[in-house]
Amino acid sequence: MKARSTLHRLPAVWRTSSSLLVAFWIVVALFPIAWLVVMSVKLPIDAFAPNVLDVLRGPDTRARVGGPSGYDLLLAGASLGLAVTVHRLRRTLFAPFADTVGELNVGGTILSYLTTALTLGVTTLVLTPWLGSALEAATPDGPLAHPLLGATLQHFRAVWIDNAFHVHLRNSLYVTGGVVSISLTIGALAGYGLARKGSRIAFWILIAALVFRALPHSTLVTGYLPPFIEFGLYGRQIAVIIVLVAINQPFTIWMLRSFFANVPATLDEAAMVDGATRLQAFWHVVMPVMWPGVITTGLFSFMLAYNDYLVAALLLDGRDQTMVPAIMQYFNRETTLGDQLEAIAAAVSITGPLFLIVLVFQRQIVSGLTQGAVKG
């Protein structure tokens, strides 16, 4: 109530200027990413045209390859609307999975997201092209039957099919999967131990971890290279997993410790009074209420491993490479505009999953960012 009353007293000038600032920031934040997506579906002449409207409309692409007709665009819009509606109604649709305040439980949440994704997938990938071409055939002279915008998926096809980028996707999944699972397992144990023991030694471990967090990653790789080459680990993804888990460990234990500290210690003590061992109390009593913290920490570990360039670039090569360093292969050869567009399509492909993660886990990411700062 208090906050609202101050809000109403804001002078109009103040409110307008802060709205303008936010609007300006939104444009700045979105523009490079949105532009990447637009370029990725155009032929070179359109993608690198000096005129904004030419890039957006893609006249050359439309003339040579075509693009979505008015019907396609309308149907795609309708599909998106339908998916959003399904998502909005998730608490009603999955009422059996809701608790007393109407929040869905974990199973219900997963189910609702799958339903939304399925709705969107079926309507955009199956119904839209099918209905679109049927309508175009029915009204061949109508204003909506012709391609409105030039767009092509040929760069994506070149990246994923001709250049076998899926090999790199598999490598990335393997590395990120390994990093997330190992980081979380040992990190959760340590985080719990550190949260439940306020001794001097726990304090020093945390300070050392903070110093380790500041280390440049190349320093660590310099230390690893000679032994890795010696023991034949060089060029194998397990080497990258080891390095990234080590780099990630200080951050993981800090974050998990602060999540564990929020779980009252009386909870595990009560369980131990009832005869549970420390490990049983940890696993059966504390962990079930820790999932939000584990998911959040897991997200940040995922991003560290997924976004890494340096470690993989130094320790892997060729077909064993993960996606982000693999994209730089487009810059090593004589780059034509076509190669650049393939690199752009690969960049969009790499960004796609991250976009989905923000969409689904926005709240967890925000809580993870503020966890360390606000609570200490």
Partner: protein, 337 residues
């Protein structure tokens, strides 16, 4: 929790950190005083012409059975450091008044140090101020707008750094859409990738774009905990909006400002992905990129592990100097808690 259980829980993580962080650090320190040298043997070769025979002795690297060059590790003292720091050239540069900075910038290490420190110190205030302004602005929005705004704001932060740098690069490279716009505005040719300072400007801009969301989220969360009573009391005492910000909000956010500064200095001192994304190494390098460059095999497949280690050690010394004041602060706070 008793001591034994504590070690059992913390053990695996500690083992990992000792073996894979502390261990390599010691390794790097040792390696920085060593070099890998190829073994050479002298081969006498007789070449005969109709006018008589001459024997030449040439040095050839020893190869093992697989044809690989045999190397051995030699202790070289401070050689690696000397090669990096180039004290003679530094002395010469310092003796050239007026031209000292330009000459220093010719030495790769000093140039990298200059760029890295500039990068960290210039982006820091920008990130703090823009993050705070954005947090204050979003705080005045209606609730329905806050969610989508935060979603969009997170995107620059979440994007893979190399990809984000590439995205900005494609806006500017050649006749990229923003370069074309600049050319129309300035009515002259613009080439953003033809000189160092424009590349540096783009890298600074990219990093601010990438990190502002982080500062924003932290400050925005902090703003929610400012006591409305204190703001109102300040208002009754006749404080202007600026005075409230200066004397109530900023002091309240101070621990968060220190936290964001600490994390940002750590991260920006490690600047690396920008150099890769903008292919800037011809014009600008950072300390971490310098180490990376030594580790990439050259044409004959050799890595300069010794040089890389020396560069890594110097980089670490830098990070300690940069962070000591901030770390002391955290240390005191944790101690009190």
């Amino acid at each position: 929790m008793n001591q034994r259980t504590f070690w059992a829980f913390v053990g695996p993580s500690l083992f990992m950190m000792v073996l894979f962080i502390a261990g390599p650090l010691v390794g790097v320190l040792v390696q920085s005083f060593q070099q890998q040298r190829a073994d050479f043997e002298t081969v006498e070769r007789e070449s005969c012409t109709p006018f008589g025979c001459t024997t030449e002795t040439t040095a050839v690297p020893v190869t093992d059975d697989d044809g690989r060059i045999v190397t051995r590790t030699v202790w070289v003292g401070w050689d690696n450091y000397a090669a990096l720091l180039d004290p003679d050239a530094v002395r010469a540069a310092l003796n050239a008044p007026g031209d000292a900075l330009r000459q220093l910038a010719q030495i790769r290490f000093w140039d990298a140090l200059r760029f890295t420190v500039t990068f960290a110190l210039v982006t820091l205030p920008l990130v703090l101020v823009l993050g705070l302004l954005l947090a204050l602005a979003v705080n005045t929005l209606t609730d329905a707008l806050k969610g989508p705004t935060i979603f969009v704001t997170l995107l620059p932060f979440i994007i893979t750094p190399v990809i984000g740098a590439l995205a900005v690069r494609w806006l500017f490279i050649g006749d990229g859409i923003l370069t074309a716009g600049l050319e129309r505005l300035l009515e002259r040719e613009v080439a953003m990738f033809a000189q160092g300072w424009t590349i540096e400007l783009m890298m600074l801009g990219y990093r601010v774009w990438h990190v502002v969301p982080f500062a924003f989220v932290i400050f925005y969360a902090g703003l929610q905990t400012v006591a409305a009573e204190r703001l109102e009391a300040a208002g009754i005492d006749g404080a202007t909006r600026w005075q409230k910000l200066r004397h109530v909000i900023v002091p309240h956010l101070m621990p968060l400002i220190v936290f964001v500064s600490l994390i940002h200095l750590m991260d920006s001192y490690r600047v690396f992905d920008e150099i890769v994304g903008f292919s800037a190494s011809g014009y600008r390098t950072s300390l971490q990129y310098l180490t990376y460059e030594f580790l990439v095999p050259d044409e004959s497949g050799n890595r300069s592990i010794g040089r890389a280690s020396a560069s890594a050690v110097l980089t670490m010394i830098g990070v300690v100097i940069l962070l000591v004041p901030l770390l002391r602060n955290t240390w005191k706070e944790q101690r009190r808690a």
